[in-house]
Amino acid sequence: MFSLDECFRQIVRIGVQAIPMASLTAFSVGLTLAMQSARELGKMGAAAYVPDLVSLTLLRELGPMLIAVIVIGRSGSAVTAELGTMKVSEEIEALEVMAINPVRFLIVPRFIAMLIMLPALTIFGDYIGMFGAWLICNLSLDMSAATYIIHSVERATTWDLFTGIIKSFVFAWLIILIACDAGLNVVGGAEGVGQSTTKSVVNSLLAMLIANAIMTGLFFFIF
């Protein structure tokens, strides 16, 4: 059985500590998305549709992707570097020799933490992004909070939120799998740790972008 304490420790490190960065990113994207769309839609007299556009874009695409990018850069790389350092300093071998399965002891808590925290951060980021967009709508378009919320909720459905959560689950699975694999297979010393961390970030980004395209295609054509 894996350690629940370690699981909670990883939830804090992978997820909770990423909240400030994820919030800032989501807020700034919501803000800029609203500004850009307000100008273009305003030219066509359709500025009232800014909340619709922002909520759909954030829930379906930008929310899961941006938060995944933040988590790859911050938490995925940290997992690879930590496991890699443990590998080169014989800590993983020590666990094996003590008859403690490193996968159960080290990987499972990180896996569970990532699967819980990336979707949670995505939902959180979606709402922070929408808050940023509301600020623009309110200050620049004189749109009331009630109008903004009604427009957002009218257009976006629960399924839009679910597609984002499904995506973030898949991203979480890919990110932690790639990060742990890179960390456990570090060869050499500090140089090896650096190379594996870079490899982990690049491969995670590529896997995430490809998976996103495939899933968007699936949701677009099938559902």
Partner: protein
């Protein structure tokens, strides 16, 4: 022993089944043969010293005996069980019966000193948490680190980390202890303390120990059996084996140079003048 061939062990007296039995062990990394036909037995209560120059394969041999590496060929029996073909879960049953003290401690950096020592106890026993805390304090006292349980490994010195590694290795009071250079980097007093601890464990508690070392004073102080691994033309082979007395009296020039710590001798540290010129000009 002195008149016998270098690799011939001293005759085993009636000591029952060996705790460790290594037969014809060969390990190659690519074309390089690191261990070449290693044979020896370790009996209960023995302190077997594996010594040899840097890069001779001492730690590699130890990692084969504890199951971390698989040999190219040959047999390794621990507690009478062949381990070379065993899966990880099967090996774990044997690993719970021995402790391993790593060369640089190999402590988990994310845990405190106390949590590191408690780890095998928490994982492999149902002992109450308060008793585990007590055991941790006792083991820390054994290695002269009372009161250090709440510090992280990064907050203590390299020598202290080694001693914590030793405390963790004996946390479960194992039947067999592997120690990889337990005294390198320790001051003479602490070296004597660690040596005394190893002797107490083997002589008073009947533990068997396998110690990798090139600290000659320590080796002759604690060893009851010794093997010397060779380098250069003897790479990967046992140059000599026997009791400390037999090793001291063995006339093998390679062994004598190593024991006396002399720069000149058969141990190839430098290229000969001709080889040096040949390598330079091609």
């Amino acid at each position: 022993m002195s008149a016998s061939t270098p690799t011939e062990p001293s005759p085993a007296k009636d000591r029952g089944e060996p705790v460790i039995e290594v037969t014809d062990l060969v390990r190659k990394f690519g074309d390089r043969t690191v261990l070449d036909g290693i044979n020896f037995k370790v009996y209960k209560g023995d302190t077997m010293i594996i010594m040899g120059g840097s890069g001779c394969g001492k730690s590699t041999l130890l990692r084969h005996i504890n199951g971390a590496l698989k040999p190219t060929s040959g047999s390794i029996k621990i507690f009478g069980e062949e381990i070379t073909g065993k899966s990880e879960p099967e090996l774990d049953a044997i690993r719970k019966r021995f402790g391993m003290n790593f060369q640089f401690g190999a402590l988990l950096q994310s845990l405190t000193v106390g949590e590191n020592i408690a780890l095998p106890l928490r994982e492999h026993s149902n002992i109450d948490s308060s008793i585990i805390d007590l055991v941790v304090k006792m083991k820390l006292e054994l290695v002269g680190l009372t009161g250090f349980e709440n510090l992280k490994p990064a907050e203590i010195s390299g020598g202290m980390r080694k001693r914590v590694g030793l405390a963790r290795a004996v946390a479960l009071d194992p039947e067999l202890l592997f120690s990889d250079e337990p005294t390198s980097g320790l001051d003479p007093v602490m070296t004597a303390v660690v040596d005394q601890l190893t002797m107490d464990l083997t002589k008073n508690l009947g533990m068997t120990a396998v110690v990798v070392s090139h600290d000659m004073t320590s080796c002759f102080r604690i060893g009851s059996q010794m093997i010397m691994l060779g380098t250069g033309p003897y790479q990967g082979k046992i140059v000599a084996q026997g009791t400390p007395e037999e090793i001291k009296n063995n006339p093998h020039p390679f062994l004598q140079q190593f024991i006396r710590g002399e720069a000149d001798g058969p141990i190839p540290l430098k290229l000969s003048k001709d080889d040096y010129i040949k390598r330079l000009v091609g």
